[in-house]
């Protein structure tokens, strides 16, 4: 029988369609793998945001990749527990930064992020810590828009929820 870790490894191939450097595993949206039978899997996923338009694509790609390995797949969506940016893996955070998106700066237990006065968001390009918030809402639901006061580039920030 295939191990749970093997399934997660297969799912590494499924990327967030909006942020192709981040796998669904890195993103922390694959919550559970259950075996209904040796060849039948139930995968539980959770949306980042309630209205995330990428969920349908992600669900389909998870099914396709596992079906191609001979599994029957049922993908279910659960909103409990609610997704948090704390679940993004170290590898995911590193990939985000290299891609030009600043990873979430704080654990969500630190509420300073909501005021937009976070001191810890640094520019993914020049690494300067002199940055300022332009808008809490960016190109996708999960991102805010910042600008770097040193190199003057604007950049996306994966905001804490």
């Amino acid at each position: 029988m295939t191990e749970e870790a093997d399934i997660y490894e297969l799912l590494e191939a499924v990327k967030d369609p909006e942020i192709p450097v981040l796998s669904v595993v890195d993103l922390g949206i694959v919550r559970k793998v259950d075996w209904i039978s040796p060849k039948k899997l139930k995968i539980t996923i959770t949306p980042t945001y309630s209205g995330c338009p990428a969920m349908d694509t992600i669900e389909r790609e998870i099914s396709e990749i596992l079906q191609s390995k001979g599994f029957e797949v049922e993908v279910v969506t659960s909103i409990s527990e609610a997704w948090t940016t704390d679940w993004i893996s170290e590898k995911g955070r590193k990939n985000l930064e290299e891609y030009g998106i600043a990873p979430p700066a704080e654990a969500t237990t630190d509420k300073s992020f909501i005021t937009g006065n976070s001191k810890n968001v640094h520019c993914p390009r020049c690494k300067s810590e002199e940055t300022s918030l332009i808008s809490q809402f960016g190109s996708t639901a999960c991102k805010a828009l910042y600008k770097c006061d040193s190199c003057h580039e604007t950049f996306d920030y994966f905001k804490c929820i």
Binding site: T115, G138, S139
Partner: protein, 253 residues
């Protein structure tokens, strides 16, 4: 009225609030005064659509007649919608849109905070999830209230006019029906009277900081949505939103 019927009412109200507000905010797409606001308003719309889908799907399950989220969204008439009157009001200018948003965001934030300890499992998860999003919405609309209220003479006047127009629709956010009494007694939803106290408090603070004044409606508050009686605007929203699925019921993407 059974407990399930009461729950169905509440889920419809919650789902319809999200759906109608999202439809209104979507009208701003490509029209806001700056790109950041355009993106922010449509992001808020998207969160509301997501929340509406969850609430309406659950409503369909609780009702037990096999109605899906789409059946409920596209195949009900105005009289069957339970969204608050505030949310169907026209966008007007940006001042009016932001004021509507602010009055609702504070309400939604307080409601969801209360629902986090609901005795109903779905409402509890729904609240924990949605509250994360609404926290950002509330922060956006409160910022704009202060920035524009305490801005130029012109922006101040526009904000005060918006408050004067919309204040009459805030009373019915807290109206209690038989359904509410049942749900409050069972610990399914928080007490709407207590909710109003915290709403008054927070809304009052922001309005004061924005150098605006709470309008005197001389005791008048509009009412009706709990009974399906809406302002003229909802019909137009539904006509646009429901046209395709009603004309071509089998249409698929």
């Amino acid at each position: 009225m059974t407990k399930d019927e009461a729950l169905f009412e509440f889920l419809l109200r919650t789902g319809d609030n999200g759906l109608v507000l999202a439809q209104r905010l979507g009208e701003w797409c490509g029209h806001a005064h700056q790109l950041e606001s355009d993106i922010a308003l449509t992001n808020v719309a998207l969160d509301n659509i997501g929340q509406a889908r969850m609430a309406l799907t659950e409503a369909g399950k609780v009702e037990g007649k096999g109605r899906s989220e789409d059946d409920l969204a596209f195949h009900r008439t105005e009289m069957e919608f339970r969204n608050n009157l505030l949310l169907e009001q026209e966008n007007g200018d940006f001042a009016q849109t932001i004021t509507r948003q602010f009055l609702f965001d504070v309400f939604q934030f307080e409601l969801l905070s209360g629902l986090k300890s609901s005795s109903n499992e779905f409402l509890q998860s729904f609240a924990i999830k949605s509250l994360k999003e609404v926290t950002y919405h509330r922060s956006l609309s409160s910022d704009w209230m202060v920035r524009l209220g305490d801005g130029t003479e012109l922006s101040h006047d526009k904000m005060q006019n918006a408050l004067n127009l919309l204040w009459q629709y805030t009373g019915e956010l807290f109206e209690k029906t038989e359904a509410d009494d049942i749900l409050i007694a069972d610990g399914v939803i928080p007490d709407l009277e207590k909710l109003k106290e915290s709403w008054d408090d927070i809304v009052g603070q922001v309005i004061k900081e924005a150098t605006l004044e709470i309008p005197d409606t001389k005791g008048f508050m509009a009412t009706g949505s709990r009974r399906g009686e809406h302002t003229e605007f909802l019909g137009y929203i539904l006509a646009e939103m429901q046209y395709l699925p009603r004309t071509m019921p089998e249409a698929k993407w």
